[in-house]
Symmetry: none
Subunit: 319 residues, 4 copies
């Protein structure tokens, strides 16, 4: 059995997953990064719900924002003093160490958007396609790229950080040091806030789902515009990579389909017709379990059972 | 021994290359695609210069513009009636058939920009780096992408067609069907023509090389601006792929270095600093022999000797 | 007596001027730079008209576009192969050598816009003001800067090259190597061409003068807009230098006043009020003789009679 | 000996300097402009630290924000009711009178950014270069301009007020009366505040220095972007003045170097190559003592000992 913990600004997600990708339990919790207690208690709740003991856990996968720490030689976190550190360092210790000590099992870290991408690319509708870009929208604007069935992480482990595509020379200063990054204007939180202003009431992700499901025209237009905005940038990716699939975070429900339509529209407009015609653009098929299934996919595609047998907890001192 | 023929708008290149990448002969000729005679005569001149008989040729590699035809199931050329057809169909027959019949050997086709990219990625300074984008400028604005030591061709075999990145909604109609494609404003021919207008005299690729070598300020500024323009688009590629190297077509000589500096400047400005810091940006190290060495690299990375033993000329009826 | 020759794209101007600034003769001619004959014949016509012999000429001043060659140690023209060379090199020889040999007198070179600026700053309405920027519009968009009664030439002898202020990242390539220089969109020839298109008839500089003099509203609006466009850039100069005067090329006649009004409007809008209030903005008072009087002013402010007595023709081998 | 007092929003600086530029003492204090007591006590502390008596002080130099008061005929402060008045009028009396009475010596006033510029131009690395623009960043965004070894003050004594370059037609109203002035978006305080927002922690000038010194990528990117933003405007200055040097306030430590690199990048992009090539762009070499050394440079370049002998305290009743 695999234990999975996801740490992100919106909160924790703990889950238990079978090596074949079946999700046995998934529990959400409020994020508190000053102490690991919350995350560990959440993990125990997930294990209890799944009826799985600590001993039955074979290894753990940790989903963390920021540069991928997968298979990284132990050393200082490349993030330095960035604000993302707090997700990766709990109570002053690397998150992997905290979880590894708790379970006494090897722990493998991966970027959260990468886990979702790998989940969809291995277990979703697009399984088997060669080059898949999965766009995560639930926790910021990010992406994961799967090429030939394996994650493409990049030289600085940041491949797919589409939130930091450059948009506006005179934009707001970003924590990455640049100005006018894409996430500042194109993200679900930014969209929700704009909708709230325009309509004079609060909006949640669920409202987007519901509005798209019931065909509320104004919201669908806004979602489609959001998709076109994403699609304008995805179009350039298509020209460079000529991928087989673009998948949109399906945790947004029906709203994901509308966003995918917007991306399609822009890709059709901004890429050569042969490329536009050969790329499938759709919302994901795994909903909120993409990350958890992605953990199982990571174990499979990176042969982690073999790795962990060679040297248990070899990965535990990362971060 | 490998026989290589490159067919492009500017003319033919025929060469003879050893399987280890050593170039034994390289002969240029005027392009005439109405009859195969010119290309075949050129090939014979290259073989004579190298002292290699038809019998000693083990297989041939054909570099052609347009979608890669490598390992493609025989069938109609996906190009349809495009103006690129003339490079790929000589005297009404697929170029691969013409060359295959002439040599009685298996012929493998590859996109010309892909060959140059593979040459630099396997035999150049960046050999061993995981993700390499090579930008071809000599024959239009294109690129080849090598990931993990192999060519990334894409779903429609058009990966790296950076000349068709979208630039201008109100731009000129392109033969690809879109409007305002990148190559229309950012290509060496466009730059040469702009320089000619600005300075009231003609400019050639050699003039760019000479001007950069002697530090002629006005020309270097124009080249650096050209590089920045490329770099603005490459920056987005960097954010998506987080590559280890960006290599500029070294057939432009000293001008390639200045263009690489411009790309670096834009990448530093438009990508997150960790990504900018981890990517090497330079001009290639193989000069005009990148394509020929790329043919040897293709044989090596795609195990073509094994493939051709399984079924000689299995590839010959493409295009 | 001073002999003065001005060489510019629009043609030659030869004149004879007294050291106190009085213009004795001024003759215009068609520009032909393949042979010096035209310029020298023009000079003889001016001398004849003024009743001045070769022997009575004490020194000559040459106004040439491009970097100022004043008091430059003989050596290669810094212009290199630029298209401006043709104005400075007649029949393959430096213009200063040609004129020096013809008159057997010392020749001093100065940038043409600098001569006009110095003329207005020393002999015009603004004489005595500390910092004066004079904007030349007749031959391209340029400027000369006089600080404390002397020309400010700058480290590369190009101070005041306002035609090369940057305007447009995506603009046309300029012979200077940059893109989107100011002169490309803001120059009298560009304005005349735009007026011709808008009104369906040809326009000359004289038409601008006449239209401004008779209060033709459409033309005055266009001239004022042209002035505002200049003024937007001049405003930044005002903030950096806090000058006492901005003077507009008075060779445009009444049109100069309208342009000056446009500059005033922009300076009032775009600079701190104290600065705007302390700068005089007006058209020049010397009309077409600004350059010729500027030659006399150069002799006076640079003490050229003393210099030439120290070593006659010491300056002649420039360019 | 020279007594120097600098009054600025961030506090007082009192120093004692030898006429040859050697700084004997420098004492910082909290700014309180409601009473002169604080400034005078600080001055006495500096004199005590230097071991210099009131009698040994030959003259005093006062650095004040706002229009230069140097050698100004006594009369009302041109500032009127501006908020800068409080720095220049202590307890209702002109600061020069207060200090002059206290020391019974002549007092010369100069703008604070001008003093720093003169210090660097006379005693710094760029000494001897003809035209030097020094950009002050520690107390707001300002600049001083030294031409031919002397301060260029301008017609309203505001030359170099780069903080008031116009940026944004729809910007915030500035106390100068204009809208969208440069300092509102481009100043160190604005940058510190943006960094605080982006990173969720406070930032000081020392943090910038430390981050640049240790190569913290996100902060260096932000500093370089800040430099580019300055450089875009400095580029226009370069085209007008063709200066020999642009110097960045070295009180920011290592951060100054990164900002200078950003300015260089923009100047290379936005000015003609010959101009870009002939201007030195660097951080200053005097650190926090630029203003104090600038006071000695003022005495030297304006021959103040001679002036003060002609009529002691002739300058004291300014402001």
């Amino acid at each position: 059995m695999l234990a999975v913990v996801l740490a992100a600004a919106h909160g924790f997600l703990a889950g238990v997953v079978r090596p074949d990708g079946e999700v046995l339990a998934a529990v959400h919790g409020v994020a508190d990064f000053t102490t690991p207690a919350g995350a560990l208690e959440l993990l125990d709740r997930a294990l209890a719900e799944a009826g799985v003991t600590h001993q039955e856990v074979e290894l753990a996968v940790l989903g963390l924002p920021g540069p991928s720490l997968f298979a990284r030689t132990p050393g200082p976190d490349p993030l330095g003093g960035s604000h993302l550190r707090r997700f990766r360092s709990w109570d002053g210790r690397p998150a992997a160490d905290v979880v590894g000590d708790f379970l006494d099992r090897p722990v493998f870290c991966e970027n959260d958007a990468n886990l979702a991408a790998l989940g969809e690319a291995v277990y979703g509708d697009v399984a088997g396609l060669h080059t898949v870009l999965h766009i995560s929208l639930t926790h910021g604007t990010g992406a994961g790229l799967v090429i030939g069935g394996r994650l493409h992480r990049g030289g600085s482990r940041l491949a797919g950080e589409v939130g930091h595509l450059h948009v506006d020379d005179a934009g707001q200063l970003c924590e990455c040091g640049a100005r006018g990054c894409f996430w500042q204007t194109t993200s679900i939180p930014a969209l929700l806030s704009e909708l709230a202003t325009a309509h004079g009431r609060t909006f949640t992700v669920s409202d987007l789902d519901a509005a798209a499901a019931s065909g509320e025209l104004e919201i669908m237009r806004a979602l489609r515009g959001f998709g076109r905005s994403l699609g304008r940038r995805v179009a350039d990716f298509v020209v460079f990579l000529d991928p087989q699939a673009i998948v949109v975070d399906s945790a947004l429900g029906a709203a994901s389909d509308v966003i995918a339509d917007g991306i399609r529209e822009a890709v059709d407009q901004y890429t050569p017709p042969m490329m536009a015609a050969s790329v499938k653009i759709s919302s994901g098929s795994l909903g909120a379990s993409a990350h958890l299934k992605g953990a199982a996919a990571l174990v499979r595609t990176e042969h982690l059972f073999e790795v962990s047998q060679l040297g248990p907890r070899v990965q535990a001192s990362q971060a």
